[in-house]
């Protein structure tokens, strides 16, 4: 059993590394212990800078480092894999950084978008998944979708090139497809609209074409868009778009 004294010493050293609060009772060389905090933050800051090059540049000199220091002091990173640690930053900002959120309300979205690029670059390989056989055409060929993708729902258009002022002044609902190309294994983003998302999710759920078109039609009527859009046309366009993206294949 670990004695209370040993336990406390270990806790105080770890806590100092995270918070920079040095307990007088920590029995270490006070002239050297700061190296531990420095070395910990070498790793943390390096990882964060690599992961979030766009987010980092929003901040004036020194403020990004201060934010990361506060994050690491206040948020307990529970993942043993250090490269997954940056993922927690957006959660922390949403709950623990009100002032930052006022200045940069789009920051959680931007962090998620930057994180997802790495996440999808590294995610485990997934197999092509078969989808409902009567969906493509009367030819009855077998269709598959590639599951290495994700639809992100964002409150700010952080993927647009216009930059922070534009993002901040255009809150809304934005859909961003992030996917890993089946052959090159590179990660790409693609802006999509809400109706396309609906169709795509329905395809993956295994609904047949007639059902999807009927539901889509109901949706268009409900949204008073039926004068401008035809359900069949939207379905075909989504089908073609995802074929071009290589997220669909017909065999």
């Amino acid at each position: 059993m670990l004695k209370e004294k040993t336990l406390r010493q270990q806790q105080k050293l770890a806590s100092f590394c995270r918070t920079n609060i040095l307990d007088d009772d920590l029995l270490v060389r006070k002239d050297r212990v700061h190296h531990y905090r420095r070395l910990v933050f070498n790793i943390i800051l390096d990882m964060m800078e690599t992961m979030y090059p766009i987010s980092m540049k929003l901040f004036p000199e020194g403020e990004w480092e201060q934010l990361i220091h506060r994050f690491f002091a206040n948020y307990k990173c529970t993942d043993p894999q250090v490269w997954k640690m940056p993922r927690f930053l957006s959660d922390y900002i949403k709950t623990g950084e009100k002032e930052i959120l006022v200045r940069y309300p789009f920051l959680p979205d931007l962090l998620v978008m930057e994180w997802k690029e790495l996440e999808w670059f590294t995610n485990e390989d997934l197999e092509w998944a078969e989808i409902n056989s009567d969906i493509s055409s009367s030819e009855k060929r077998i269709c598959f979708y590639f599951p290495e993708h994700e639809l992100l729902i964002l409150d700010y258009p952080v993927y647009r090139k216009e930059g922070p002022d534009f993002w901040k002044s255009n809150p809304g609902k934005y859909f961003l497809l992030v996917y890993r190309h089946p052959e090159s294994r590179k990660v790409f983003y693609q802006e999509v609209d809400a109706l396309s998302c609906f169709v795509w999710e329905s395809i993956k759920e295994g609904k047949n074409k007639a059902v999807i078109i009927s539901e889509l039609n109901d949706l268009l009527i409900q949204q008073k868009l039926n004068n401008r859009f035809k359900a069949e046309f939207i379905f075909e366009k989504v089908w073609d778009d995802f074929l071009k993206l290589r997220l669909l294949k017909i065999q």
Binding site: Q10, V40, P80, Q81, T122
Partner: protein, 304 residues
């Protein structure tokens, strides 16, 4: 004790472990000089087919659960090289409970790639349920020994492999009650695990804490050494060296390797280079230096 009479301690474990026997794990001593496999140079290393270490070492934490590009790289490396592992986040000396699901993930990774050698650090990197992602020194106390020994056994049981624990470099002792060598020896002896002797860490600690590196090495449980590390470091002030793995190995550390090999049986030696990575031919020069020293003590035939 003549070299020929010495047995690799990992063999003793193998003989007492029916699981290892069943899975056909074999003696690791065939592999002499290895190189730390880093993503920074992975692709170039595999493309050029150079340098040609006898094995490579990687941190499972940096590869577990990866698909896509990095999985392809790992698979290519695994096709070409024997892989040894050196974990980062086990935190064997932590006051927190062991992360059993994570240890099971490591086991799966080791099984998937048929890796027999798993080493870790005699340190802690997690406390109060928060990972620090760096190695903190454990207080050298008898209660810490009693705390760590059963944890080692648990890890070995789950992994069905011996745990090989490394002496770490440290910049300040923390509430130490017993000498460092007694602490290390007690843990290795009482748990029955193996030791990874990092000669650079001995050099760094001897300098930082004012003791003799050669004398220190002789106080370690040398019969339990199953693996050796060598690396570069950085002197940051007149009385402090930081163990950076970011510089070339210096002559006194090569000398310490030479000295150490006189007292142990032939075990693999690994060159660690994690930062400030030079051109691959410079790394090859360092591997060659290690080979030259190694071959003074052990011939290839001897360990094959």
């Amino acid at each position: 004790m003549p070299n020929a009479a010495r047995k690799n301690p990992i063999d003793s474990f193998k003989l007492t472990s029916p699981c290892l026997k069943k899975q056909g794990f074999f003696f690791i001593g065939y592999f002499m000089v290895g190189l730390g496999f880093r993503k920074d140079f992975a692709e170039e290393f595999l493309e050029k087919n150079f340098p040609t270490p006898d094995f490579i070492e990687l941190a499972p934490e940096n590869w577990i659960g990866m698909g896509g590009y990095w999985k392809k790289i790992l698979d290519r490396a695994a096709d070409r090289f024997k892989i040894f592992t050196h974990g980062l986040s086990l935190s064997i000396g932590s006051p927190d409970p062991l992360d059993i699901p994570y240890i099971r993930k490591i086991k799966k990774f080791l099984d998937d790639y048929q890796i027999t050698l798993y080493s870790e650090h005699l340190s802690y990197s997690q406390c109060d349920n928060a990972h620090l992602y760096d190695l903190l020194p454990i207080p050298f106390t008898e209660d810490a020994v009693r705390h760590i020994v059963p944890r080692i056994k648990t890890v070995q049981d789950i992994l069905e492999r011996p745990l090989i624990l490394e002496n770490v470099s440290y910049y300040t002792p923390v509430a130490a009650e017993i000498p460092e060598h007694e602490f290390i020896t007690a843990i290795i002896r009482e748990s029955g695990c193996c030791m990874l002797l990092d000669v650079n860490n001995v050099f760094v600690n001897a300098f930082n804490h004012g003791y003799d590196a050669h004398e220190f090495i002789l106080k370690l449980p040398l019969d339990k050494v199953a693996y050796i590390h060598i690396a570069g470091h950085e002197k940051v002030s007149d009385d402090l060296i930081i163990d950076t793995h970011g510089q070339d190995v210096i002559p006194p550390v090569y000398e310490l390797l030479d000295y150490t090999l006189k007292f142990i049986k032939p075990v693999p030696v690994l060159l660690e280079r994690d930062f400030n990575i030079p051109e691959l031919d410079e790394l090859d020069n360092e591997l060659q230096m290690i080979r030259n020293i190694y071959s003074k003590h052990f011939s290839k035939a001897e360990i094959c």
